[in-house]
Structures are given as C-alpha cells and as structure tokens.
Symmetry: C2
Subunit: 126 residues, 2 copies
C-alpha cells in the first residue's frame, strides 16, 4: 500500500484544478478542506497521481510565485508528449524549452504552468 | 508506459543520494551526468521512484536552499511511518510537525531534509 506522490502548492488551488484538467486531462479524485480554509485536491492523469494544495505560509506551504521559482520538476512520461505539450501550451503553460529529441535518449520538452510549477513532458526515444 | 515522478533539485546531489539511502532506504537506480556537470540520479524507495538533481540556476533548476523554501511536499505512504520518521530524523532530517494521528484520517508527520525538501510520512488510519 506504499506510495509516493508530489503535493504542489499553488496560490489558487481551485484554479489549478481547472488548469490541470485542461492542460493534462487531469481529473479531481478527492477534495479536502482544511480547518484554515485551504483545499487539498487529489488529482489523477490517467492514474498518475499528484495533489494540488492552496498556499499557507504559516504551514511552510509556499507557492512558486511566492518563492520566485520551484525546486521540483514534475517528470511526466506519456505516449504522445508532443500532443500533451501542445495541449498544455494551449491551456496557458509557457514553454521553457521546446519538445525535441534530446541527447539523453528522450523526446522531451519543458513547460512552466501558470502557477509556477515546471513539467518535463516526454517519452523514451525508440 | 506512462509515469509521473518528482525531480528534486539540491545543492549536492551526491550527498542527497547518500542521505536518502540512510533516511528512507532509497537505492540509486540510475545516474546520468549532464554536459554542464550536474548529476541526475534516479532513486527508488522499494519501487517508489523519484530523482535527485544538482542545482543549475542557468536551467531554472533551483534548490530549496537557494529559494528559501519549497513549493512541493513529497507525500510518502508506508506501512510503518513511525519507524521511517525515526530513521529520517536519525539520518539528519528535522521535524516540521511530529508524527501523530491526524484529524484528516492519517497517522502522519512531516520532516524537512538537509537539502530543504519536505516529506510527509504517514499511512491511513484504520
């Protein structure tokens, strides 16, 4: 029953839930409201799980916008990374580097989402 | 073949590989050296995967120490979170909140590792 999932802090968790649905086809699987008013949303991209959580500086949960960057990249491997990248950009993500065949054996690109989290989107090269 | 894994940026990836081995029993499954001198280490905690990557500001890969915090928590679910928490603290992590039965249905605590990444360690309550 073990698992390891990333919890992404954002300034607007409701907005982020909507964005990740449009960008990655993510669905919201759970929503928990904290006593202090934040929401914790469990998300799934075709079974690949992550969480979106409202910022709460008192709990040391800080967004990339507050910190001025992010120290974690999300590495998303999918069958058609070109299509997913195009969909994310259309939803409002910004290209960090374009998707291309990379010397390290992946077709991969990188985008920053509107909440400041960064996503590598790729697949192994044949 | 899809997957979603977090890549943790740190100031000292080699040191972090050693720390995560001691703290979580993580094993290093792959190591890639970039042309600019960073290493990208693929880690596994009993099959739960994440990556550790050296900081590289030119590539927007910033450590929590540089940013002054982290915008992502790693949510680790294990059979014996008390034991894993004790092991992480013994290895040099710092308690953020103590492990206890939480009102949201988990036995859970939170630690910060020496590289500034935060880990929730818990399991669902019966």
């Amino acid at each position: 029953m073990s698992s390891l999932t990333a919890m992404l802090t954002v300034k607007d968790a409701r907005g982020a839930v909507d964005f990740y649905a449009r960008a990655f086809g993510a669905s919201e699987r759970s929503r928990f409201g904290t006593p202090t008013g934040q929401i914790v949303a469990g998300m799934s991209i075709d079974g690949l799980e992550f969480f979106v959580v409202d910022e709460n500086p008192d709990a040391l949960n800080l967004s990339p916008q507050t910190l001025g960057g992010t120290s974690v990249r999300m590495n998303l491997i999918v069958d058609d990374p070109d299509e997913v990248t195009a969909q994310a950009l259309a939803a409002g993500a910004v290209e960090v580097f374009p998707i291309d065949d990379q010397p390290y054996g992946f077709r991969q690109g990188r985008v920053a989402d509107p909440f400041g989290h960064h996503w590598l989107i790729g697949k192994p090269l044949d």
